[in-house]
C-alpha cells in the first residue's frame, strides 16, 4: 500500500465502499429485472447492509482512530450514527417495495439511491474535515432529491422534489459559505485544527460569528428546525410515503450528526455565541411544529410538523450542553428512528395521506392500529415507551444545567403534541369507517418492519437498561 492509502484508511472507508458497490450493483442488475421481479433487489440491499454492519462491528472492536490524516474519524459517535443509518435504510427498504409496486413506480434505482444516501450519510457521521463533510452531505441530499421526486407521474411528487432541491441547494450553499469562512479563519479544513484556531480567537469574534450564523442556518435547514423548516411540510407531503419516512429519519439524524460534529467540535469554544441562536431555534421549532400540527388535515403533514418539533427537542439536548444532554440526544434519536418509521409505515398500510383515511382503521386492521397507538404515545413522549426516555433525559439535562424555563416549555408542548397525535388515534379507534376503503398494501417486509419498530418502541420503554447503556457508550467519550 502506498503511503497515502494505508490499511487503516481502507478500514475506515470500507463501509462506504461496500454501500457504493452494492448500490452500483443494483443500478446494473436492474436492467435484468421485470417489474414483477424487482423485489428481488432486496436480495442485494439486505446483504449489502449486513456486510456493512459487519464492517461497522469490526470497526467497533478497535478503539477510536483517525484515517486519511484526520479526514475520517471512527469513534463511538460515528459508529452510533452509522448503526442508526443502517437500521433506517434496512427498515425503509422493507417498507418500500409493496408501496412502490402499488404506485407503479417500482424501479431498482430506488434501492441504489437509498444505499447511496446512506453512503453519503456515512461521511457525515465519520468525516472530520470540511470538504468530506460537504461532499458527503451533498451525496446524501442529492439522493434524497431524486427519491422525493421518485413518483415521476405525480405532480405533487415533482413539486415536492423541486422545492426540496431548491431550498436544499440553497441551504447547502449557505453552509458552504460558512465552511469557507472557517477555512478563512484557520487556513485548513481539518476540524481539529479549526478547533484550535477558533479557540484562539477572542469571544464574539466577528468572523467566527459569521461562520456560526451561516453554518447554523445551513444545518438548521437540514434538520428542519424553525425558522428554516418551510420546505418540510410540502416535501414530506409530496414525497412517496416510504421516502418521507426515510427523509424524516435518515436525513434528519445525519444532519444532526453534522450539527453535533461542528458545534461540539470546532465551534465548541464559541458556545456563548451560538447558544442563544440555538435556544431561539429550539423554542421556535417547538412552537411552530406543535401549533401548526394541530390544524393539519393530512396525516403526513401532521407528522412533518411534529418532526419539526422533534428537531426542537433535539436542539434542547444540545443547548443543555452536559453529558446528560448528549446522552439524551442519543436516546432520543434512537427512539426517533423506530417510532417515526413505525408511524409512517402504518400510514403506508392505511394507503392514504389524510387523517380521514384513518377513520375506522382499528376495526379493519387492529394489528396495525394498536402498534400505531404505541408509536404515537412514544412520539408524544409518554411512558412506557422509548420516546419517554428521550424526553426524560432531555428534561433532566435542562434541569441539571439550570434551564428550568426551557424544560417547562418543552414539557408543556408534550401535552400539546398529544392533542394532535391523538387525533390520529381518534380517527382510527373512535370514528366510523369512511365509505371508500382503499386496499391495504401489506407485505412481509411491512410486517417485519412493524414488528421490529413496535418491539423496540415498547420494549425500550418497558426495559430500557440495555438501550441506555448503548446510548451512554455512544456519544460520551
Amino acid at each position: 500500500m502506498s503511503h497515502f492509502y494505508t490499511d487503516v484508511d481502507h478500514f475506515a472507508l470500507l463501509p462506504a465502499i461496500i454501500l457504493a458497490l452494492f448500490g452500483c450493483a443494483i443500478f446494473l442488475f436492474d436492467a435484468l429485472l421485470e417489474a414483477r421481479t424487482r423485489r428481488w433487489q432486496l436480495c442485494l440491499v439486505l446483504p449489502g447492509l449486513a456486510i456493512t454492519g459487519w464492517q461497522l462491528w469490526k470497526q467497533g472492536q478497535v478503539g477510536p482512530f483517525t484515517a486519511f490524516h484526520g479526514a475520517l474519524t471512527i469513534d463511538p459517535f460515528s459508529l452510533f450514527f452509522n448503526w442508526l443509518f443502517l437500521l433506517t435504510a434496512a427498515l425503509v427498504a422493507l417498507i418500500s417495495y409493496r408501496y412502490l409496486e402499488i404506485e407503479n413506480e417500482h424501479q431498482g434505482e430506488y434501492y441504489g439511491l437509498v444505499l447511496m444516501a446512506q453512503a453519503g450519510a456515512y461521511f457525515l457521521a465519520t468525516g472530520t474535515e470540511l470538504i468530506t463533510l460537504f461532499i458527503g452531505l451533498e451525496t446524501m441530499s442529492l439522493s434524497f432529491y431524486v427519491l422525493v421526486g421518485f413518483l415521476r407521474e405525480k405532480r405533487r411528487s415533482n413539486e415536492a422534489a423541486l422545492k426540496y432541491l431548491l431550498l436544499g441547494a440553497f441551504s447547502s450553499g449557505i453552509l458552504a459559505y460558512g465552511f469557507s469562512i472557517l477555512y478563512g479563519i484557520a487556513g485548513t479544513t481539518y476540524l481539529s485544527d479549526i478547533a484550535v484556531a477558533v479557540a484562539a480567537r477572542p469571544a464574539f469574534d466577528p468572523l467566527t460569528l459569521i461562520a456560526i450564523l451561516t453554518i447554523a442556518t445551513g444545518v438548521l435547514f437540514k434538520i428542519s428546525a424553525a425558522p428554516f423548516h418551510m420546505w418540510a411540510p410540502d416535501t414530506y407531503e409530496g414525497a412517496p410515503t416510504a421516502v418521507t419516512a426515510f427523509l424524516a429519519v435518515g436525513s434528519k439524524i445525519a444532519s444532526l450528526a453534522l450539527l453535533l460534529r461542528l458545534f461540539l467540535g470546532p465551534l465548541a469554544s464559541a458556545r456563548e455565541a451560538w447558544e442563544p441562536l440555538m435556544v431561539l431555534a429550539a423554542v421556535a421549532s417547538l412552537t411552530v411544529g406543535n401549533l401548526a400540527a394541530i390544524t393539519q388535515t393530512s396525516a403526513k403533514r401532521l407528522l412533518a410538523y411534529s418532526s419539526i418539533a422533534h428537531a426542537g427537542y433535539l436542539l434542547l439536548g444540545l443547548i443543555a450542553g452536559n453529558s446528560t444532554g448528549l446522552q439524551g440526544i442519543a436516546i432520543y434519536t434512537g427512539a426517533y428512528v423506530f417510532m417515526t418509521i413505525g408511524a409512517f409505515l402504518v400510514l403506508i398500510a392505511v394507503h392514504g395521506d389524510e387523517i380521514e383515511d384513518l377513520n375506522g382503521f382499528a376495526r379493519r386492521h387492529p394489528a396495525y392500529a394498536i402498534p400505531m397507538v404505541v408509536f404515537l404515545l412514544s412520539l408524544a413522549g409518554l411512558p412506557p415507551t422509548a420516546g419517554f426516555l428521550g424526553k426524560y433525559y432531555i428534561f433532566l439535562a435542562l434541569i441539571e444545567s439550570g434551564r428550568y424555563t426551557l424544560a417547562l416549555v418543552g414539557a408543556v408542548y408534550v401535552a400539546v403534541s398529544l392533542f394532535y397525535y391523538f387525533r390520529l388515534v381518534r380517527s382510527m379507534f373512535l370514528l366510523p369507517t369512511s365509505l371508500t376503503v382503499p386496499p391495504v398494501p401489506t407485505s412481509l417486509g411491512l410486517r417485519i418492519a412493524l414488528g421490529a419498530t413496535g418491539f423496540v418502541t415498547l420494549g425500550a420503554g418497558l426495559y430500557p437498561e440495555p438501550f441506555l447503556q448503548l446510548a451512554a457508550r455512544s456519544l460520551l467519550k
Binding site: 439511491l113 461532499i135 439522493s143 431524486v146 422534489a161 479563519i185 487556513g187 459569521i210
Partner: protein
C-alpha cells in the same frame, strides 16, 4: 492606478452586475447570458488570485457545461412562454427584507473581521500544487465526489426519461 486594482474592479463589476441582471431579467435566456457574464467575471477574479486551474475549470465546466445545460432546458421546455406572467412572488418584499437584514448584519460583522496573518504561496506551479493537495490531503472527498456524480447521473436520467 495599479493595474491589479483596475482589473479587480472590472471583474467585480462584471461578476456582480451580471449577477444582478441575471436575477432581474424577464427572459430566462437573457438571464442565462447575464449569468455567463457574471461567471466570466468570477473567473477573472480567480486569475487575479493566481488560481489558474480554477480559472480554466470555471470556464470549461461552468460556461461550457452548466450554462449549456441551462440553455438546453430553457429551449426544450420553452421557458420564455412564461414571460408575460408575474415574475416575482407575491411576498417578495419579505424575501428581500430578510436578505437585506442578513446582509447588513453580515456586512457589519465583516467590516470588523480580522484575518490571521497572510502566508506566502509555495513556488510550485498552481496546477501541480492543486493536484498534490487534492490527491494527498483530499483523497476521501475525491472518491466520494465520484459517488456524488454517479447519483447525479442516475438521478437526472431517471427523472427526465419518459416512462417505458
Amino acid at each position: 492606478m495599479n493595474l491589479d486594482v483596475f482589473f479587480f474592479y472590472a471583474f467585480t463589476s462584471l461578476a456582480l452586475g451580471g449577477g444582478l441582471l441575471a436575477i432581474t431579467r424577464r427572459s430566462a435566456v437573457h438571464a442565462a447570458i447575464a449569468l455567463m457574464v457574471s461567471l466570466l467575471g468570477v473567473a477573472g477574479l480567480y486569475l487575479l488570485l493566481q488560481a489558474e486551474f480554477l480559472f480554466v475549470s470555471q470556464i470549461i465546466v461552468y460556461i461550457g457545461g452548466i450554462l449549456l445545460l441551462f440553455l438546453f432546458v430553457i429551449m426544450l421546455v420553452n421557458l420564455d412562454a412564461g414571460k408575460g406572467l408575474r415574475q416575482f412572488h407575491k411576498n417578495w418584499p419579505l424575501g428581500a427584507a430578510v436578505t437585506a437584514l442578513a446582509g447588513i448584519a453580515l456586512a457589519v460583522l465583516l467590516s470588523r473581521a480580522q484575518l490571521p496573518p497572510p502566508q506566502q504561496m509555495p513556488a510550485t506551479g498552481n496546477v501541480e500544487l492543486v493536484a498534490d493537495t487534492l490527491f494527498q490531503d483530499y483523497l476521501v472527498p475525491f472518491e466520494v465526489a465520484s459517488l456524488l456524480l454517479l447519483v447525479a447521473v442516475v438521478g437526472s436520467v431517471l427523472l427526465a426519461r419518459k416512462r417505458a
